[in-house]
């Protein structure tokens, strides 16, 4: 009954979506106030209907209702409850339902929290959002229905892929989707603005919190995915430039460019067409990603079940939404007013440079990912484009971006004194160069990118921090006002500082763990000892345990350094009973300086039966990546709560003097 209820809800939601995509837009052209206002309620109604459907599916998983095909294929009665719940979206149909849920949530959120937006614009935005909903709900109902039934129900299900039975992977999709799908509302804003024929600074201000929400979530989602790959997959790496990873990275790159370009549109009324284009492209890349992941177009470790028929459906969806919006862009964008004037050295040009780097990076990733397909289509040759290409092409851009990011916040609007800025912080440049040279001394064979990278990271960190100190006049004689000055910084400024600091950490972590990994592999038996990076690891034996749906062999390893006992590590090998597949559970000793990463496995060669293969990897500085990503997310969250956007609590505060004079906020 409940699954039928879920299915019925979806059908209703589709009908409502059709209404939502037509009535408000027609209402705007016909000046029909009722139809215009209906957008809000239709969006909310849709949200509730899809939520009901989602809960219906989740309930089927929780109670292990094996009459539902989806549950049979992806669940098992012995699975722990947590993984039953998150298994709802650990498969194609369920994840599309989650996708749609988030899609309609953003529509609903705009209805509830978008009261500051003019009604006509909001109606158009919700209509565009409605089109996307129509597309995806119909896709779900016609090709990927999660509520299909199986009669007679089997005794038990096929279980969720053991790799997915993990908390990191549980949170990764929802977080990623809030990012991925969240850009849909930004897309709708852009298309609506093109329809109106006007892109104003106000528009840029209304759109910004939504960009921030999606961007923050996407950053966290990608970082979480990388972190999960790192500790779960057992090869000590966290990024492989796999097509599925790349399709999440591209919206992030373009989304970051959008985030920065929109600042100029908001503050200076410039780059209107470019910002709108970026807004359309970000979500278009999300859609492209959804298509690639689910259609079997490219080979990837991450692909869902491959089905070209579904692929065609999504492709048609893409043709309509991306093709349609870009056609509208080509038609309407030329008539958008050009922006203001600014000097070649200014905050505007700095942000333009930022956009250049980010869009080049996105183009590299896009082209590299699709090139094998292009080449095969034209010449029939099959090649692989893997990490070497991406690393070689991406790293210089990344380092350039990191270096110029350091100066950006110092630049004033309209006209900046670059020479002045550089002379004030030139001591930081020298110190950073010194750091690089010092690293070169330590790691004389070290790859160039790493030596430069550490310097860039240091430069970015100190520069960003110094700018903040400068802004709050930390060492100004007027100490009493320091806290006041720090507190009254606009939140978006703080957000920027924290996010940029986060980037410096990420650069450090990426560079350290990629360049200076150390590894030791050996056969071990009880009492064997191995050394890596100054750690002495003793293999003390293996014990057998039973988990809820798996059997595990758990090893005990004693870790010492310089004679002192540090801790025991317990890497495991698990055999999941239902699927018969096994996984490696690594054990990690974490510290900011680096991770000691250990795994065990059984030897492939029967000659060594009775022994174990122990693999120790030392990953220097890797935790700076996750630390940096948290800073990025934190920066985003703080920016969202800026009072300009009227999201979150608004503070009442009294000022006796105008803010600009007290805290040097000319730049903000």
């Amino acid at each position: 009954m409940i699954p039928e209820l879920g299915q019925f809800s979806l059908v209703l939601a589709l009908l409502i979506a059709i209404a939502q995509s037509t009535l408000p837009i027609i209402g705007v052209t016909r000046e029909n106030t009722i139809w215009i206002n209906s957008a809000k309620y239709l969006a909310l109604l849709q949200f509730f209907l899809v939520l009901i459907a989602f809960m219906a599916l989740m309930r089927s998983y929780i109670v292990s209702d094996f009459t539902v095909t989806n549950v049979v294929n992806n669940s098992h009665s012995k699975k722990p409850l947590l993984y039953k719940i998150v298994g709802t979206w650990g498969n194609h149909e369920g994840s599309i339902l989650l996708w749609v849920l988030i899609l309609v949530s953003f529509g609903g959120a705009l209805s509830l929290f978008g009261s500051n937006i003019p009604t006509r614009l909001r109606a158009r935005v919700l209509s565009v959002q409605g089109w996307i909903c129509v597309g995806f709900i119909s896709f779900m109902l016609f090709t990927s229905n999660p509520f299909e039934r199986t009669f007679p129900p089997p005794l038990n299900g096929n279980d969720l892929n053991p790799l997915l039975q993990d908390i990191g992977l549980a949170i990764h999709p929802p977080l990623l989707y809030v990012g991925y799908v969240g850009f849909s509302i930004v897309f709708s804003f852009a298309v609506a603005a093109l329809m109106e024929g006007e892109v104003s600074s106000a528009w840029a201000r209304w759109v910004r919190p939504w960009i921030l929400i999606a961007w923050t979530s996407l950053s966290a989602g990608i970082a979480l995915g990388a972190w999960w790959a790192y500790y779960e997959l057992g090869w000590g790496g966290w990024w492989f430039w796999d097509p599925v990873e790349n399709v999440s990275f591209m919206p992030w790159l373009v989304g970051t460019a959008l985030l920065h370009s929109a600042i100029v549109t908001e503050k200076r009324g410039a780059f209107k067409a470019w910002t709108v284009l970026l807004a359309i492209l970000t979500f278009s890349l999300s859609l492209l990603g959804t298509f690639i992941v689910r259609s079997g177009l490219l080979t990837s470790v991450h692909s869902f079940a491959v089905d070209p028929e579904r692929g065609i459906y999504i492709l048609i969806l893409l043709a309509v939404s991306i093709g349609g919006s870009l056609l509208l862009f080509a038609y309407r964008a030329p008539s958008l007013e050009s922006g203001g004037l600014f000097s070649p050295i200014s905050r505007e040009s700095g942000l333009l440079l930022n956009n250049l780097f980010l869009t080049t990076a996105a183009a590299i990733v896009l082209f590299g990912t699709l090139y094998p397909l292009f080449l095969e289509g034209i010449t029939g040759e099959k090649i692989s484009v893997g990490p070497p290409f991406f690393n070689i092409s991406f790293t210089p851009i990344g380092l350039l971006l990191g270096s110029t990011m350091a100066i950006g916040p110092y630049l004033k609007w309209n006209r900046a004194d670059l020479a002045g800025v550089l002379s004030r912080i030139k001591f930081l440049i020298f110190i950073s160069l010194g750091v690089s040279l010092f690293v070169w001394y330590l790691k004389s064979s070290g790859p160039a990118f790493a030596i430069i990278g550490v310097g860039v990271s240091f430069w970015l960190f100190t520069s960003t921090f110094f700018e903040w100190m400068d802004r709050v006049r930390l060492f100004n004689k007027n100490y009493f006002n320091i806290f006041k000055r720090i507190k009254s910084q606009p939140r978006s400024a703080n957000g920027m500082t924290i996010a940029h600091l986060g980037m410096s950490f990420i650069i450090l972590g990426v560079v350290g763990s990629s360049a200076w990994k150390e590894e030791v592999i050996s056969f071990v038996e009880k009492g064997s000892q191995l050394e890596v990076a100054g750690f002495l690891v003793t293999f003390e034996g293996v014990t057998i345990h039973q988990g809820p749906n798996y059997n595990s062999e758990k090893a005990t390893l004693k870790v010492e350094k310089e004679g002192k006992f540090l801790e025991n590590l317990y890497p495991e090998r698990r055999l999941y009973l239902a699927t018969g597949t096994s996984t490696t559970e690594s054990a990690i000793r974490q510290s900011l300086a680096g991770d000691l990463y250990v795994t065990i496995s059984e030897p492939a060669n029967n000659k060594f039966k009775g022994k174990w293969v122990l693999r120790l990897i030392y990953e220097p500085l890797v935790n700076f990546i996750w630390l940096g990503a948290s800073f990025l997310a934190l920066g985003g969250i703080i920016s969202i709560t800026d009072r300009r956007y009227k999201i979150g609590r608004t503070f009442k505060y009294r000022r006796t003097k105008p803010i600009n004079k007290v805290v040097g906020l000319d730049n903000f």
């Binding site: 070649p344 090649i383 490696t584």
Partner: protein
Amino acid sequence: MNFIKLLLVTFLYLVPVDTILAVEPDEVLTDLKLESRARDISANVRCVVCQNEPIDTSNSGVARDLRILIRERLLAGDSNKEVYKYLVDRYGNFILFKPPLTLSTALLWFMPLLVFSLGVVILVGVLKKASPSNKSRFSDTSNDTKVLDSLENKKGKK
């Protein structure tokens, strides 16, 4: 059709692909330099029976065979280039994660530079157009001083 698909899937995944990491201690060479070369090469060689993994971390039988083969060739004195050629002769360029620079991949390798250069050209164009010294954006301002002066005189007289 579905039967064939099923068979194909079975065919391609007959060797159980697991999540263990791959290089086994009995493969490791005692010569550290050679071993390091072997690892670097392995990281660049695609496991042809897997879904996008290097043989360095794949658990499949073919991957292991290739890892051992690479080490044999290195011990026999092959250079890195010769080892790659040995593999490409048998599997084609698909087996390399770093596509060789040929006529058909030239576009791929030069694209980043091309896009960046194009971007720089556009950037410079935008900067020029937006520059305040770009007089053509405004009407002729040569009379403004005169007008201003006359206005001020009027004020002054009052």
